[in-house]
């Protein structure tokens, strides 16, 4: 154990003395600004997505289709269309609260407390992950880590540290293409630094002057052989969403 410690120390010295010129370069990149630009690219006032959630639990693959309407960061409403069992299930997020409605029970149930940590519909996402309603640039302080070339693209890697202690993932790391302000991948860490989840953004397309991914792949790294793919088939930005979509009264048959 001690040797590991010494090695670590040594590598730290090595790092400081040899790479310090690079550090200066890094300072030049405004990490926070870059993150803001990414957020601006991804977020819009309102958004509609018709998509598929492909859940692979290692044994079986399941596909859910849903329509989602989002307004800002605080309000969103999804309506599941298939499979038959989930059809008509509605989820409404309002100011940090999540309700779920199922036609079968004809009830709206508040997903709160520990239920939030449960896997959402068997996926690698928890309801909490779903609830994530902040812009990264608002919730995290970004610092530049390094630059990495992947397939001839130089990605800027940013380390994000949460501003608020209550943020689920206290640290994240994002791979950003500074040119088009897109994210290649994101890693979510436990407070003490253990890598927990990995999200891949794929199939970027230009939609309404934004570069938007059509596919997101979530992986829970603590589990074996599971992943959830979110495919966006229809994406619309800045559309008018009727107000009642974001009211509790929508949660009925």
């Amino acid at each position: 154990m001690d040797t590991i410690y010494i090695k670590k120390l040594l590598s730290l010295f090595f790092f400081i003395f040899t790479i310090s010129p690079l550090l200066n370069l890094a300072e030049a990149i405004d990490a926070q600004k870059l993150l803001k630009e990414v957020d601006d690219n991804l977020w819009s006032n309102t958004k509609f997505i018709s998509g598929r959630l492909i859940i692979d639990n290692g044994r079986k693959v399941r596909t859910l289709t849903q329509d989602s309407w989002m307004e800002g960061v605080e309000r969103s409403y999804s309506h599941y269309k298939s499979p038959a069992r989930e059809k008509g299930t509605k989820m409404l997020k309002l100011k940090g609260k999540l309700w779920i409605y199922t036609p079968r029970t004809n009830r709206k149930i508040l997903i709160a407390g520990h239920l939030l940590r449960q896997s959402m519909m068997g996926s690698d996402l928890s309801y909490e992950d779903m609830m994530e309603d902040h812009k990264l640039s608002q919730s995290y302080i970004a610092t530049f880590d390094r630059i990495q070339s992947i397939k001839e693209v130089k990605y800027t890697i940013l380390n994000l540290v949460a501003r608020d202690k209550k943020t689920t993932y206290q640290t994240r790391r994002v791979w950003i293409n500074p040119k088009d302000k897109t994210i290649l991948q994101e890693e979510r860490f436990a407070k003490t630094g253990k890598l927990l989840k990995k999200i891949l953004f794929k199939d970027y397309e230009s939609i309404d002057d934004r570069i938007f991914p059509r596919t997101m792949i979530f992986k829970d790294l603590l589990k074996k052989n599971t992943q959830t793919t979110y495919k966006f088939d229809v994406i619309k930005f800045d559309l008018d969403i009727p107000d009642h979509y974001f009211s509790i009264s929508i949660l009925r048959r």
Binding site: M1, H114, D164, Y169, L222, K223, K224
Partner: protein, 389 residues
Amino acid sequence: MNWDIAKKNFFRQGLRASLNVFVTAFSIIALIFMLSLLNGFQAQATRNVVNTDVGGGHYIAPGFDILSPTEWEDHTVKIPKSLSQLDDKDKAEVLVQQGQLYPNRRLYPVQIRGISMNQSLLKLPLDNLFNFQKPIEDLIPAVIGAKMAKKTHLNKGDILTLKWRDKSGAVDAKDILIIDVGDMLNPRVDDGVVWLRLDHLRFLTDRAEEVSWVAVRNYVGPILGFEYQSVELLMADLLSLWRQDRINSKILWAILMVLVCISVFNTQILNIFKRQKEIGTLMALGMEPKRIVRIFTLEGGLAAFWALFVAILLGLPFFIWFHSVGFDVSHLSESTLPIRETIYPDYQPLEIIYSLVIVFVLIVTAAWLPVKKITKMNPTMALRGRAIK
């Protein structure tokens, strides 16, 4: 006078008398043995639960329910001064949190239980945890029970991921090192429990000075902001199981006593049959029938007395020997009962005395019942050996 005659008669019976004495003596030994073993078993199991978990009761954070894992995080409290100032031998601070263990990268929900390392109230195999000096930046030292280890296929030295939430709700996870697999004796603190140092758990969850409960040696009066749960309440299930066992043992006891009484009863019947001439003679000599009954009953009593003596003579060394070696139930140690490898009988003097008194009374009654008909005997018939057919 009665005594003398009874004594002489008793010794004259020879084989028959000694048989009876032995049957009774063995029954007494078996009886005491059975009761003491049960006592020992229960006392030990109770002690194990007390030693590993219950202590002398818990001061528990209000609303905390060990059966509701999802609410553990919501029911922790800062330890009040009145409890924290107790001596380390009189209290054990415990913090319980929900966690997810990933043995073999499969989810296993666990209870993370942190316990203060300085406490000496509860006896747990956590010495290695206490002695672990390295900082926890790399690995968190943890101890699990043998039952848990078996279930999760984990061994000493294994490293795996544990996930939890801190006080603010942030996800946290780190690799833990199983520094020891201990025999917890009590499935309640073994099955699905990962033991950490309290200081580690408090640090990891950002819950300085917080506890879920404090196990205490003695009740120290009501404490504001805490609920006191007594030993009886904490062990209700086990205690009701014990009660059931006691009832069952009483039935065994009764069956055994019936056997002893039958033996004495029959001996007495044949005794009288064989000795009717003697009874007739005693009557002819002018002895009142009641007195003869007394003599014969006394003889039965003597048998009980001798049985007692033999039981002590044979039983005492056996009990002492057994108490030293115990009853090996090592194959039970991983079962659902909180019991150690070896059960030592627990001899309760008062209980033994009670039992012996009952045995004595029963035997004398069994000796008296058949002889009471002597009073109705016709002396002349008795003399000719024709009084009883």
